[in-house]
Amino acid sequence: MRKLSLWVNQRLPISAFYKQHFKRFYVHTSLNFWYATGAIAFLVFAIQIFTGIFLMMYYIPTEDQAFSSVEMIMRDVNYGWLIRYMHVVGASSFFIIIYLHVWKALMYGSYKEPRELLWFSGVLVLILLMAVAFTGYVLPWGQMSYWASKVIISFVTVIPYVGESLAIWLQGDFTFSGVVIPRFYAYHVVALPLIIIFLIGIHIIALHVVGSNNPEGILINPHQQPKKHERSAIRPFSPYYIVKDYFAATVFLLIYFLIIFYFPTLNGFFLEHINQEPANMFVTPAQIHPVWYLAPYSSILRAVPSKGLGVFVMFAAILIFFFLPWLDRSPVRSIRYKGILSKLFLSLFLISVIGLGVLGLLKVTDDGLILTRIFTCGYFSYFLFMPFYTKLEKCTSPPCL
């Protein structure tokens, strides 16, 4: 056995890899359960790939058969309902987990130097995740697949000069029609997942160079064996944090399968009732709205009176995340040691995102629109005032190792 292990390791450095990235990859012991979100996100991604492969075997990407082939999967394919519900609930879970993951990064300052590129790759994954969710949402070709996507694809037309041609290129037709199904299918199952896998790779490589951040915001060298007095504060990832992530993953799976078996559509929240009607381009639904995970952004779009400017502000709301490492001028990373202003603005951001999300799913009313505008200001003030409040406030100093 030892001989075999030696033979393999001389040719493929499995042991060295395990040592470098697990056994002797050191993290701070203050890591809490927010830090399990990364591992769970990885698990959900694996579930999506796995279930997606089986869905591909039966799904037919044409205008006449997209809807009925999904119904066939739900009814006539053995355990097709399980695979499809796992994929649908998986999509929503992915966003829940990723949003928690981003929230963790905002709380503990994981975007700050030296993790700027780690943060960049993460924001890129988030954007691509939205794209992959959007293209996937079109595939069942239900009423909201058609109408919501028609709205979303029209966003590119506001780009000056090339917008119109770009929209025609994307949808493969002069109007939004069933021609998009095979196109979006190709993006959804090949192009976007490939890029996401690549970016997740980059994300993990960057993480393993700079090491995990922690709730204390203390910078440690992930590859340096801790000295004797540091042993209580620094531990290797394996086995200590593998068992923790494993425990968190089992809890996640428990909730995930509870939803799948007993509330698979979560009362129209994860799988909307109206999308169970086949797409009909002659009947406009009473209200067109995106799925819950894109609702905050559609709210921001609504808040701005002009469409062109609205689309710009909506994209700015996502792209502004890229500037976060330079907007934050605080000397400390973690919210635990930042001052009261940072805490207030971070809470304002959270309230604004939730408010925008809820309003994005409701019918537009005058009062709602005023609230939407207030929340949009709340959302942006977290970013735009950050250079000032992080500089002004008094921070406490984090403990040393």
Partner: protein
């Protein structure tokens, strides 16, 4: 909740009656499917249930229903009902199926006025008439049983008829997602397994944490 009423198709001039749907009650689903086979199938298809064993056993079969041309029934041919149980609330379906009343030239429906579906079971239910003028109904939105009253009784008493309609609504809800039966059968085993696994994982985590 937020999205349940977003379909917009569930509006009605009357307050809809409550109906209790036990979605895994196979006896009721079966009875509803038999009712569907007798009273609905001659016009409405159940395309996506063509291989559903329960439906086939009850007599709901593929190919029994005529294939309506698009321009038949003044351009509104009877729709396929495979998914009506999810695109409409059970209360709406229940109210609609109970909401026929007599007008001069036949029947109209209180839940969906000017519906193109003729009363499917006048002999069974008996004839209902408006209990108050239509203008008052539109103004006050009364409950369904306040708006309509039974003028002549049908072949079954009202409580039996109500049960039958509740059965067929249960069947329609089942038809929209037949996976409800296997889900509730397998679910407990999967969840108990995961519960034990997560407990084991918890103790493993605890033992390492205090290490």
């Amino acid at each position: 909740m937020l999205l349940a009423s977003a379909t917009g198709a569930d509006k009605a001039p009357v307050e809809l009656p409550h109906v209790e749907i036990r979605e895994t009650d196979t006896a009721r689903i079966m009875s509803g499917a038999q009712f569907f086979a007798q009273h609905c199938q001659s016009c409405h298809s159940m395309v996506y249930l063509r291989y559903d064993a329960l439906s086939n056993e009850a007599g709901v079969k593929y190919g029994v229903t005529p294939q309506w041309p698009v321009d038949s029934w003044n351009g509104r041919p009877p729709p396929d009902l495979s998914l009506v149980g999810v695109t409409h609330r059970p209360e709406w379906l229940y109210g609609y199926l109970k909401g026929y009343y007599v007008v001069e030239d036949g029947y109209d429906n209180i839940v969906m006025p000017n519906t193109s579906m003729p009363n499917p079971y006048p002999g069974l239910q008996g004839n209902q008439i408006l209990n108050m003028p239509m203008s008052e109904i539109l103004k006050d939105q009364p409950r369904l049983y306040q708006a309509l009253r039974l003028e002549s009784s049908g072949s079954v008493p009202p409580h039996v008829f109500n049960e039958k309609v509740a059965d067929v609504v249960t069947y329609l809800v089942y038809a929209a997602d037949p996976s409800v039966i296997p889900r509730h059968q397998i679910g407990p085993y999967v969840l108990i397994f995961l519960l034990i696994l997560s407990l084991a994982a918890f103790f493993l985590y605890q033992s390492y944490k205090t290490d």
